[in-house]
């Protein structure tokens, strides 16, 4: 069965793909932090962040449609935040008592703030996963002393999420073949049973995976990865990238 993999396109070859994954992680996370900390009225700064992302996108040969389609996942979250905006008071409006046009502007600005920053952040993350193989990302995280238990959990998650989705899909097909439609509330029990079975199967699979790990000499020690020093080209890329971000940020104080 075919799924849209988390790190689709990460096996392409481009100057961006070839950069050390640690550099990419530092750069992309800095981009998010700097973008989030930029005051919203500096529109040109956000324009430049977008420009950087588009430049990386072009160099890395990743289809822009893929990134846009994936970025739609933030829409529900942004909408939820938008729902609460009428009840939010921004610092500029603390002393106002009625809905003046000015106040409405501030609320729109707040919404715009959330939308733009969320959008840039999600595109950055999609881009990171499109130019870095997931296992490389995990290895780099361990180089940054990210807790090894969490890295292992992410690693198992990445390995088995598709296996579980496949299993759920097969079960769902079997249900549909027996004329199950799942439209009404009565069917909630069937869906609950399906989830319970899925949980039990995953649990049992976990036990078998553990046995298979023991059979190959696993003794509770977690994966240790060797660290290579950064090569000159990668360090240069990192310095140039971070300098560009800092310049934009300082320019829009």
């Amino acid at each position: 069965m075919h799924h849209d993999f988390i790190d689709k396109y990460s096996n392409l070859d481009s100057p961006v793909h070839r950069i050390d994954s640690r550099v990419k992680i530092v750069f992309f996370f800095s981009l998010i932090l700097i973008c989030v900390s930029t005051p919203i009225y500096h529109i040109r700064a956000f324009f430049l962040y977008f420009l950087i992302l588009i430049a990386i996108l072009t160099i890395s040969k990743i289809p822009i449609l893929h990134v846009l389609r994936k970025s739609l996942v933030i829409i529900p979250f942004v909408l939820i935040i938008a729902l609460f905006i009428p009840f939010t008071e921004t610092s500029e409006t603390v002393f106002r008592f009625n809905d003046s046009p000015d106040l409405m502007m501030n609320r729109w600005l707040l919404f715009w703030n959330v939308l733009v920053k969320a959008f840039i952040s999600i595109i950055t993350l999609i881009l990171l996963n499109s130019v870095t193989r997931f296992d490389d990302t995990l290895k780099s995280l361990s180089a940054f002393r990210f807790p090894i238990v969490l890295i292992n959990m992410l690693s198992f998650f990445y390995r088995y999420i598709f296996v579980i989705i496949d299993e759920a899909e097969r079960m769902q097909r079997a249900l549909v073949s027996r004329l199950f439609r799942g439209r009404s509330l009565i069917h909630a029990k069937v869906i609950g049973d399906l989830l319970a079975i899925l949980f039990l199967r995953s649990y049992e699979r976990g036990e078998r995976v553990y046995l298979a790990m023991c059979a190959r000499g696993w003794d509770g020690q977690l994966l240790i990865v060797d660290k290579k020093p950064l090569i000159l080209k990668d360090s240069a890329a990192l310095i140039i990238g971070l300098a560009a971000l800092l310049l934009i940020r300082l320019w829009s104080v």
Binding site: F5, R133, R159, V163, R205, A212, C214, A215, G217, D219
Partner: protein
């Protein structure tokens, strides 16, 4: 000659009370290729999980002259290469390479030694070009070969396989049979595939309801229709 696998009066009951093995005694010599056959629930998988102490029942298990107990577990697990039935249970790393490197890393080898072993094993199963892919992207046959490579990377003395050809198309089955032949050494495998048993094993052990009911040359077992019928194999 010391037998590589020696099992004496082994019985095992699952925690829920199911009696899975009754008084099993088995001796396998170095270089033998043994097929374990039997109906579903006959106790075949339970038996092989005892070879490296993943399950421990009552009775004696002696591997390569070393009795299986808590302090010999590590040594024995290195000697027994256990290939599980479902490759998705065995291959748990984000990339095929990491899976092959798992056992050598557990053995405390350094990364360059690990790389040499991993590349050698991947080459032997014909997956060298796939080393960077995630095992999820592999076909079932490729996954099966990757699981075998993952176990070969331990340099085991005895290869134990749980249904190595199940779920494969005829070509996939032929490839596995040829691969196992080229690997050689002592091999124990569970199978339902009586057609291929002769080319995979010289000796067959028939299990039924937790007991060994026959143990003979493969050709003799395959010609004994009454026995096969009794064991639920035809």
């Amino acid at each position: 000659m010391i037998p590589v696998i020696q099992i004496e009066h082994l019985s095992y009951t699952y925690p829920d009370g199911t009696k899975a093995l009754h008084d099993i005694s088995l001796r396998i010599d170095s270089g033998e290729r043994v097929g374990i056959i039997g109906a579903n629930g006959a106790g075949k998988s339970t038996l092989i999980l005892h070879f490296n102490g993943l399950l421990q029942g009552e009775g004696k298990v002696i591997i390569d002259g070393i009795p299986l107990e808590k302090k010999t577990l590590k040594t024995i697990r290195r000697k027994i290469g256990l290939v599980f039935q479902n490759p998705d249970d065995q291959l748990f790393c984000p990339s095929v390479y990491d899976d092959i490197a798992f056992a050598p890393r557990n053995m405390g080898l350094n990364e360059s030694e690990v790389r040499d072993i991993a590349e050698d094993c991947l080459k032997r199963v014909g997956l060298l070009d796939n080393s960077k892919r995630g095992s999820y992207h592999l076909s079932w046959g490729e996954k099966r070969r990757a699981s075998i490579a993952a176990v070969l990377a331990m340099r085991p003395e005895i290869l134990v396989l749980d249904e190595p050809v199940s779920g494969l198309d005829p070509r996939g089955k032929r490839e596995i049979v040829e691969l196992l032949k080229s690997i050689g050494g002592t091999q124990v495998m569970i199978t339902h595939d009586l057609d291929r048993l002769k080319s995979m094993a010289d000796r067959a052990v028939v299990m039924n309801k937790g007991r060994i009911i026959a143990d003979d040359e493969t050709a003799n077992i395959l010609s004994n229709q009454t026995l096969l019928y009794k064991a639920g194999l035809i």
